[in-house]
């Protein structure tokens, strides 16, 4: 099969996946679970097929690689289709785990660990906290029923179309591409040391800037979250001394 045929196959598979997610998306009533599963399975199979055969003359990934790939894609699909935010968050943990596994297999151990620590350890915890903060309390009877914006999607068809076109275009790009063969990266002292040297040698200033960015964000988050009440509920400013008419009613600029 030539690349063009593979590409058309991939388009079909992407369409199947998009359909599957379309059926799986929450939209008020019952979900057509069967259709979702069917199309999802077709898409998963197709992904495997493309991965092993469609990407030109590259190395064939291992079974473990394939499993983690499917796990990542499937969990991501669940994140965007699950009705309950908490479950979405948990599925996202799975995505992160799978991704870091893939990274390990690609030789990026340090990045994989950082990914695990930062995402699973920090970011996801924040998400869960926020989800808990942002749900009605347990005494509230309504909290048991689904809120409207979780139960209903917004224009699922258009969104899926956009996602499909994007995925299809990118896949087509990958499939038709002539992949170059390159030498493996030399890492005499191991991946961590190599990445560290790379960061501090080539990216020293961006690293510093990233530190600054983190600090700014921290302060920003504090400043935003500290504000308890909207402005109009704050006590009024004390009245000012009477002044001349010029510049009397001044508005901030």
């Amino acid at each position: 099969m030539n690349a063009v045929a593979w590409a058309y196959l991939a388009y079909g598979l992407m369409a199947a996946g998009a359909l599957g997610i379309y059926f799986a998306l929450p939209r008020g009533g019952r979900i057509n679970r069967a259709a979702a599963l069917l199309f999802g399975a077709i898409a998963a199979g197709g992904i495997l097929l493309v991965m092993y055969q469609g990407l030109g003359d590259t190395a064939r990934p291992s079974v473990v690689f394939a499993v983690f790939s499917l796990l990542a894609v499937g969990s991501a699909a669940r994140v965007i289709t699950h009705r309950k935010p908490v479950y979405s968050a948990l599925y996202f943990v799975v995505v992160v785990l799978a991704t870091s596994a893939l990274a390990v297999m690609a030789g990026a151990e340090f990045l994989a660990m950082a990914l695990l620590i930062v995402y699973a350890g920090a970011i996801l915890v924040t998400y869960v906290f926020v989800i808990m903060l942002a749900q009605q309390s347990a005494d509230d009877p309504e909290s048991l029923s689904m809120v409207d914006y979780d139960a209903n999607s917004r224009e699922p068809a258009t969104a899926m179309l956009a996602g499909f076109v994007l995925a299809a275009t990118l896949s087509g790009l990958f499939i038709q591409r002539k992949w170059p063969s390159v030498a493996a990266i030399e890492e005499p002292a191991g991946n961590t040391v190599a990445v560290g040297q790379e960061l501090l040698a080539r990216y020293a200033i961006p690293v510093e800037l990233a530190g600054v960015l983190l600090m700014v964000a921290m302060i920003g988050a504090l400043a935003i979250a500290r504000r308890h009440l909207p402005n109009d509920m704050l006590p009024a400013r004390p009245p000012e001394l009477p002044v001349g008419e010029i510049g009397k009613t001044v508005e901030p600029f």
Binding site: V79, A103, R154, T158, G163, W179, L199, M218
Partner: protein, 100 residues
């Protein structure tokens, strides 16, 4: 021979999934999760590109992606909390002050 194409393929699919989710879900928190999925896709792509080129720049830049993701999560979620306090809802469609 590496698995770079496969990594990038999976990354692209993750990215597309994130986009689709971002477009269709209305819960602000889930939308943020979708952006995180997109980040994952990009990370995988970066790793793949690094492999393809035979250097470590992909991984190094990947770390910056992590930083941005962390910052985005911190600030974004703070905003979400604030917005939720104001209106008592997480519905993205309720926030449309910029409608022309």
């Amino acid at each position: 021979m590496t698995t770079a194409p496969q990594l990038m393929f999976i990354g692209a699919i993750l990215f597309a999934l994130g986009v689709a989710g971002f477009l269709t879900r209305r819960n602000l928190i889930i939308m943020f999760l979708c952006t995180e999925i997109m980040f994952q896709g990009i990370l995988l792509n970066l790793v793949g590109m690094g492999l393809m080129r035979g250097n470590l720049q992909g991984q190094a830049v990947g770390l910056f992606v992590l930083v941005v993701a962390a910052v985005e999560a911190g600030l974004g979620l703070a905003i979400v909390v604030m917005l939720y306090r104001r209106r008592g809802t997480l519905d993205a469609e309720k926030w449309s002050l910029m409608r022309g």
